[in-house]
Amino acid sequence: MSGLEDLYREIILDHYRNPRNRGELESPPAHRAEGFNPLCGDEIVLHVLLDDDGVIDDIKIGGQGCSISQSSASMMSAAVKGKTIEEARNLTATFKAMMSIHETEIGGDGSEAEADEPVTADLPLGDLEALRGVVKFPVRIKCATLSWNTLSQAFDELAAEATG
């Protein structure tokens, strides 16, 4: 089961079993965003609370999913907390670049375009590096990126609210 150990690194299983930042925040003031993986039914509910400087003051994760989507969400929450929106977006780009190698092949949902997005940063990913093994299992990439896509969606919604 060498392939499996590549996918399910110890740190992933740890985040899966002990998810960080699990829960909800009052909304408003927090922004709530919901993401679906239509392929498998995984759902994620994000609550993001920004301070006046656009720094992520708090973030909570709800919903249900597999070890990959849950651990990715957990690691993401830890990684973006205390960061500005821009920093978080750059981290998202870096993470998705790591994941993008195969996403276009199994997407069929326009994800191709995503792969072309300029990667605006090449940040250190820390624990998130553990998810690199997912790339070898293309179907699971959508699990790993679900929470990140939902975070981008939350930022887009916030931006739309601000300008709209």
Binding site: M1, L13, L39, C40, G41, E43, G65, S67, Q70, R140
Partner: protein, 421 residues
């Protein structure tokens, strides 16, 4: 691989080893293990007979149907219409004209919604669905309801994923249509179609049976069943992709307006308007799935040569074996959704390995060359009812045997151990 050593009384009726020879995909190995294909509820594999029937057709008799005078076109048309007659006979239809070819079961249900539903449902009306339904038998009605403003009522489900019919009469009262699955693609539960149809008839409602999961696995007689619409797909019954079936009573089809417009469904077209042709042509706009119909007829020939009764008995026995085996090997760590009585269900096992998400279960099983499907199985309302985000679904067909059930159990044990704290 050790089947010769074990009692096979449960399923001795079908010569599964011989059947498997006909399915090239099942001959492959993965990581040195025989591939164990347990995903037929999503789509079956197909025997050489089916693939070769299509190839032979393309190589000897292919032309567009219905309009050619030359011999090749006549042959193509004859074989296409013979395929329709084969389907009609297979499901006990009164006439081949009651069989409409669609692209899949989903289109068949959309056709009923878009044609019959659009002309018969409006404000103040109600239809009845069930919590067991596949999205194919939910979303078309929700789309139509948003447009036409009628009510959708829901037959609830029991904890073990069967229909709860205790309130049936009240639910169907005043409804114009009751649309329900003959067998859940999640829990395998076989629904009490006779009872529902009788109640619907008493209430003056029509019935649509989503028979996607039962036609491939059980003998079917639509006339005896007494339903008004029956829908199913070729790809789940050893046939090719790209073809589905709507069966409907002739009088209903005759009264229904077209669904899609185009060539082949008209009597006349002028710049002022068009005159639709009779059914089934009226509902088959454009070039139909010609080679797919030939393939489907070959699939039916194959199923009939094995025997639908025999297939059903085999699956009941195999399901009984698997239920026993899984509970012996996995005990309390596994929940199997659906009826515990094998005769009340098809060979579809929705598994919940406690503490391990279905996705992860499926991933580990793939390492053991066991192919199952994780997810909501396009039945999110049922998932919600069962209180799970997803299940790991293993499903059997005529080419599966107790070896496959054993492999499933073994791989599940490995998955449990891998994810154990």
């Amino acid at each position: 691989m050790t089947s010769s050593e074990r009692p096979t009384g449960d399923q001795a009726e079908l010569d599964v080893a011989a059947i498997r020879k006909d399915f090239p995909l099942l001959h492959q190995e993965q990581e040195g293990k025989r591939l164990v294909f347990l995903d037929s509820a999503a789509s079956s594999q197909r025997p050489v007979h089916v693939v070769e029937a299509m190839s032979e057709f393309y190589y000897t008799s292919y032309a567009n149907v219905h309009r050619g005078v030359y011999r090749v076109a006549e042959r193509a048309t004859n074989r296409f219409e013979q395929a329709r007659a084969t389907v009609a006979r297979f499901i006990g239809a009164g006439s081949a004209a009651e069989v409409v070819f669609t692209k899949n079961a989903t289109e068949a249900i959309n056709l009923v919604a878009g044609s019959w539903g659009k002309t018969n449902l409006g404000p103040g009306d109600a239809i009845v669905l069930t919590i067991l339904e596949h999205h194919a038998n939910i979303v078309p009605w929700q789309m139509l309801a948003a447009e036409r403003g009628f009510e959708i009522r829901w037959i609830p489900a029991t904890d073990d994923g069967r229909l709860d019919l205790s309130d049936l009469d009240r639910l169907v009262d005043g409804a114009k249509l009751v649309a329900f699955t003959s067998m859940s693609n999640v829990t395998g539960s076989i629904t009490a179609a006779e009872q529902i149809i009788a109640a619907a008839k008493a209430a003056g409602a029509l019935t649509l049976v989503d028979a996607c999961q039962s036609v491939p696995h059980l003998p079917t007689d639509v006339t005896e069943l007494g339903a008004d619409f029956v829908t199913f797909s070729g790809h789940k019954m050893l046939g090719p992709t790209g073809i589905g079936i709507l069966w409907a009573r002739a009088e209903l089809l005759e009264a229904m307006p077209p669904f899609l417009g185009g060539g082949g469904m008209i009597l006349n077209v002028t710049t002022d308007g068009f005159l639709p042709d009779a059914p089934p042509a009226r509902f088959e706009a454009g070039t139909p799935p010609i080679a797919e119909a030939i393939g489907l007829a070959a699939a039916i020939d194959y199923l009939e040569s094995v025997g639908m009764e025999a297939i059903r008995r085999h699956e009941v026995a195999l399901t009984a074996y698997a239920l026993r085996k899984l509970s012996t090997e996995l005990g309390d760590s596994l929940t199997i959704h659906g009826p515990s009585e094998p005769a009340a269900r098809g060979g579809v096992l929705s598994l919940e390995l406690h503490g391990v998400h279905a996705h992860d279960v499926s991933q580990v099983l793939d390492e053991h060359a066991v192919c199952i499907r994780p997810g909501h199985h396009c039945a999110k309302p049922l998932m919600k009812h069962l209180g799970v985000p997803a299940t790991a679904r293993a499903s059997f067909y005529l080419y599966n045997d107790t070896d496959d059930a054993d492999a499933l159990a073994e791989a599940l044990v490995a998955a449990r151990d891998f994810f154990a704290l």
